[in-house]
C-alpha cells in the first residue's frame, strides 16, 4: 500500500497506526517513510507492506494493492505503483501547487482511469470538517473506512487499538470520533 499527500497531512502517523494494527494481527510488516527537506510542504509518499514474510519496505513499481491519496493531484505521481487491479482511494481535496494551475478533479480521474477502474473518491476532508470541525483527520477517516469496507485486510478493532496506542492523548478523542464517523459512513 502506498499513501501519498503533502507535508503536514500526518502520513507518518497513518503509517504507524497501520503498521501497529497489522502487527497486532500477526503479520510481518515493513514501512518506508521520508523526513527532512523532502517533507517541507512538498509531496510526501510513504509505503507499508504486510504479509507472512516481508523483505522490502518499499512497494515495487506497478504492484500496489491500494493507493491512498490524501491529496488528489498527488495520486498522479503514484501511478508508478499502480496496475490494472490497484484500488485508488482518494480524498476529494486539492492543495494548490505554487506556480502551477490547479488540476481539475475530472482531469485527474480521467488519467487514473487509464490504468485502473477501481477509483473511489470520497470527500473525506469535507466530511471531517463538517462533522468534527477538523479536516486534518481525513487520513484517519479514510484508513478506518478502508478497513470497514474491507479494502485493507485489517480488522477495524485492530485499527482502533493502534489509534489508542499511537495518537497523543491531546488528539485521541478527535481521532476516536473520526473512527466512529467512518464506521457509520461505511
Amino acid at each position: 500500500m502506498v499513501i501519498v499527500g503533502t507535508g503536514g497531512q500526518g502520513l507518518i502517523t497513518l503509517l504507524q497506526i497501520l503498521a501497529e494494527a497489522a502487527f497486532s494481527e500477526g503479520y510481518d510488516v515493513k514501512t518506508s517513510e521520508l523526513h527532512g527537506l523532502s517533507q517541507r510542504g512538498g509531496s510526501v509518499e510513504v509505503h507499508i507492506r504486510f504479509g507472512k514474510k516481508i523483505y522490502s519496505p518499499m512497494v515495487a513499481q506497478g504492484s500496489a494493492d491500494l493507493i491512498l491519496g490524501l491529496e488528489a493531484q498527488e495520486c498522479l505521481k503514484a501511478i508508478y505503483f499502480a496496475n490494472g487491479k490497484t484500488i485508488f482511494l482518494i480524498n476529494k481535496f486539492l492543495v494548490p501547487i505554487s506556480g502551477q494551475k490547479l488540476l481539475k478533479q475530472e482531469e485527474i480521474l480521467k488519467n487514473l482511469k487509464k490504468i485502473s477502474k477501481n477509483i473511489i473518491l470520497i470527500p473525506a476532508a469535507d466530511i471531517c470538517e463538517k462533522e468534527l470541525g477538523k479536516n486534518v483527520v481525513a487520513g484517519i477517516y479514510l484508513i478506518c473506512l478502508a478497513c470497514f469496507k474491507g479494502l485493507i485486510p485489517i480488522n477495524p478493532k485492530s485499527i482502533f487499538k493502534a489509534i489508542e496506542k499511537i495518537v497523543p492523548k491531546k488528539y485521541l478523542d478527535l481521532n476516536i470520533k473520526t473512527f466512529y464517523l467512518a464506521k457509520h459512513e461505511k
Partner: protein, 549 residues
Amino acid sequence: MFQNVLEKKDKKVILLGNEAIVRGALEAGVQFVSTYPGTPASEIGDTFYRLQDLYFEYSTNEKVALEAGIGASFSGLKTMVVMKDFGLNVCLDALFPFCYTGTKGPTVIVVADDPSCHSSAQSEQNTRGFAFLLHIPILEPSDSQECKDFVKFAFEISEKFKMPVLLRTTTRVNHQSGLVKLGKLASRSSLRRGDAGFVKDVNRFNTLPPRVLEMHKELLDKIEKIQEYSEKSKLNLVGGKAGRGLSSSKLGIITSGVSYLYVMEALKELKINLPILKLGFFYPLPERKIKNFIKPLKKVLIVEESEPFLEKEIKIFAKEVNCGLKVVGKELVPEIGELKPGIVAQAIAKFFGKKFNKLSVISNQLSVNRRPQLCQGCPYWLVFGAIKKAVKEKDVIFGGDIGCYMLAGVPPHNIQDYLFCMGSSIGIAHGIKKAVSGKQKLITFIGDSTFFHAGIPALINAVHNQSNPLIIIMDNKTTAMTGHQPHPGIKTDAAPIIKIEDVISACQVKNLKIIDPIKQNEFIQTIREFLKKDDVSVIIARRPCKFVK
C-alpha cells in the same frame, strides 16, 4: 515508535531503523553519545535526547562531536557518535588519527548516506569509499532488526580489536520500520558517567612521528585480524531460498544493505532460487568466503547502490579463483540514485535470462511538480521579501547555505546563486568579493545553527582578509530543518547562551544590526546601507521559527 525503544527483552516491537540503532546501543550499554543532527540520521540523536542515564549531547558540529567521543573513549567509556554522510567529511580530520590510535572505550560511529539525495544538497555520497582511506571496519545493516543487532556487533568488534567501527546506513534503512526482537537492556548502573578516569598513555594517544608510522603498521595488522573475524562472522551470510521455482547453481548474487531486501523480494516475485551472499561487512571484506562463493559459479550479479566498490573487489578475487567468471554489476544496476525493488527485479530477470513482465505503466501526462516550500508563517518569507524590495535581484549575487533557507533557490524566491556545504556561504562569498571587488554586491544567508557549525572561521577569514559581503544570519532560534534541535545560541538547561551578536562583535565586525524581519522598512534600509560598506556587514534576522514555543 519511541515508547517501543525501552520495551522488555524478548518482546517483538515495531521500530524505525534509527530507533533500532538506539536500542542496540542501549543493549550494548552505551555511556556517551554525541551528534550533530542531519537527515536521515536525526532521529537517532533525538531519541537519545529523550533518554536518561547516559550522557548525550548535540555538539556544535560533527568534528567536535567525534572529538568529544574520542575523549570519552580514551577515558574508557562506551561511545557512539552519530551523523549524516556529510558530517563524516567534516570530522575526517579527527577520524584518521583515531583509526591510528584506536579506541579505549569501544566506539561506534553511525554514518547515514542519502542515495537519491532526498534530503541532501551537495553530493550523492557513498561513504563506503572512505573504508579504503581510513581502514575503518564498516558494517551495513539492511533492516531494523539488523540495525539493532549490528550496533551490538559493532561494539563487540570495537571492544575486541580496539578500533572504532563505522555503521553505514542509507535513508531506506534509517527510515524503514519493521519488527525487532529485543534483547536485554544493559544494566542501568553501568551507564553512569562522570566516574570514568583518563589513564595517561602517551605512547597510545599521541600520533607524533615517528610513532605514527608504527601506528600505521598496527592499524593494518588489526585490519588483517578483523578480516579473519569477518570470514567467520554470521554477518556475512550465504543463503538464498527466496523463490521456489527455477534455480541455478551456476549463477549467484552478492549484495548488501537495503539492496538485499530488494533482491529477496525480486526472487520471490520472479520465482527464482539463486544462491545469495549477503555481506554485513563492507570492510574488511571476507575474501575467502567470497572466493568460495564465486568459485563454482559462471556468472555473479553484484547488487549494490551507488559506486561499484564491491564489484571491483570481486573482479579482483575472481581473477585468483575463477578466471572465467562473469561479474555483472553496474551494466544492469544503475549507479546514480537509490535502487528500488522494481529496478532490482528487472536486473535479476535480465541476469537470469527470464522474461519479466514489467507491469506496463501508463505515463502521466499531467505534471505534478510540488517542490518543498517554506512553511506558512515562516519568518524567512519576510527576509526574502525585504531583499526583493531592497535590491534589484540581477545586480546582486546571493549565497546559500544548508538549512530551510536553501529554499531561496526555488520559486517564488529564486535568490540563490550557489549552494555548497555547511558554512560555505561565507567562505565562498569572501572569495567572490575578493575576485570582483566593488563591481558586484553580494548577500549570503546562513542559519543560526549552521553559523555555529562552520560559519565562524569563515567570518573571521572575511574580516581578517578584508572583503565586504553582507551576511544575513537567519536566526530562527532552532535547528529547524532536521527537527528543531537546540544549539549554543538558545537556552538549554543551565548552559550559558552564546549570543551570535557577541561572537560577531568579537570578530570585529563593525556593521552589525539585529532586526526582526517583521520590521520591513528597517530591514530594507539596512540592506541598502550595508551593501555600500567596504568591510564585512552582518544583519541578524531574528524571529523564531513558527514551531518554536
